[in-house]
Amino acid sequence: MDVIESGIGELFQPPDPDGFREWVHTRKNTKMVDKVMSEQDAVAKFVADGDYLGTELYGTVRAPMSLVRETIRQGRKHLRVAGQGVHEIDLLLAADLVDTLDITYIAWEVYGISSCLRRAVESGRVKTTDWSNGGITWRFKAAAMGVPFLPVRSMLGTDTLKYSAAKVVNDPFTGKPVCLVPALALDVGLIHVHKADKFGNCRVEGISGFVHEMSRASKKLIVSTEEIVSTEEIRKYPEQTVIPYYLVDAVVEAKYASHPGEMCYRYWRDGEHLQAFLKDSADPAKTKAYLDKWVYGVKNHAEYVDLVGMDRLRQLESEIGAR
């Protein structure tokens, strides 16, 4: 089972299952304790300069936008980021807080490509290592499984593999080449959910994206939630708990936290807001003005909600589809 090929990309966060276990054993609390706190406290306590950070799902869909904005407000620097992203990573790039990117896709889907990404990478300010969406999610999954790598059958034969940090080996059972992606454990994960109790037991409605994998691959995990529910309710439908409490370090109540993105069954995306940012982001000065208004110009998510305005939010609520 010799290594046939090794990607030449830098491994920004090497796999270390034993180190993860040690972290869990010494730093995580398996007691059910109340973890509800403000977004300021959560980010102050659990996001550090230089952290390797990840967000789920992505910028326009169930994204932890209020936590991302707070991270920017608190000026966390030299972040290393796992990027399947849209608005959330664009904001981090716009605020110049990112040093390295494990990138799979950063753009604006239907709206166009990312000016923030282009400036950051083309200038040489931000270093990149490329992966596929599957590839990076399987990296989270490897960390979530507590193993150092997973075998995958994509990325093979391409420059996506060459410029990644994956390896190719011959499978010792079939003899055929298979790609191995190294486990990716986050220093800190930010996840926004529909419902959580005060201990951190969480539910997500609709697609699960990679919430299962990323929540289990995070050394520190901050959850924001549209609403806090009772533990009695959690215990009634235990199969709906996608994130159990012991994974979670902080629970932040934050209604509309995914704005300007959508939250399925709650509110639709704010297309005007997103497109306005995307347009502004082509110009560094206008990008700064956006940050000044929507991030630095508010003290917290409550003020952000006021700035958006309840009329607008009610409108977005009316535009989301029912089940």
Binding site: L57, Y58, T60, V61, R62, G83, Q84, V86, I103, T104, Y105, A107, E109, V110, I113, S114, L117, R118, V121, E122, S123, G124, K127, T128, D130, W131, S132, N133, G134, G135, T137, W138, V152, R153, S154, M155, L156, G157, T158, D159, T160, Y163, V168, P177, V178, G206, I207, S208, G209, F210, V211, E213, E262, C264, Y265, W268, R269, G271, I320, G321
Partner: protein
Amino acid sequence: MANYNESEFLICLASKLMEDGTTAFVGTGIPMLAGALAKRMHAPNLVPIFEFGGTGASLEKLPLGVGDSRTFHKAVAASGICDIMETACRGFVEYGFLGGAQIDCYGNLNTTVIGKYWPPKVRLPGSGGANDVASFCWKTIVIMRKHDARAFVPKVDFITTPGYLTGPGAREKAGLPPGTGPYRVVTNLALMDFEPVTKRMRLIATHPGVKPEDVVKATGFELLVADQVGTNPEPTEKELKLLREEIDKDRYYI
């Protein structure tokens, strides 16, 4: 010539490639429009699959991304990206619809960088799920909105997503599942397949008013030409009406 634009033509043609009752990975943009159109026209039982978890959505409203709530509205299942990609890896997804900035004669796609890797001249979005889709689906269909020598190049700057790589047998040698690979390329000028022996791109049909030599000339590599080059069907009134009045009434694409 009927009253339609290039995007509308592209969407209608891509739509016709979507088979009823089968599974298809639907990416953001043209594939979503084509899927929504196909479901209303000839393929009501098409099962659209979106990489972040939606399977079998109704597509009553146009999704704006591969994870939004329209990708699993009235779906039969809403799981996550691992489940979807692994389902494709096990061979359950027939078609994958993709786009790219550059393509070569073997159908290899670039959506990562123009120029050298880092720092690049232009940083593009990256693979997203495209590499996985093209690795796993039985038939990959590539949609290129502009057929010219900037997009159809002898060598892509970066192979983001595998076509036939360096030619016959190369996918299998790399460890990719056998029997997979690019199947069709749809552009604003023509429809191409891949010649079975050499795995090189081949012109099989042009749009009304487009001559085979126009397509060859617009291609930056030597494009094979089938013995019989057909003509692609024009959009019908019904298709155009559905596109304009229902599917993309906000005009994201058309």
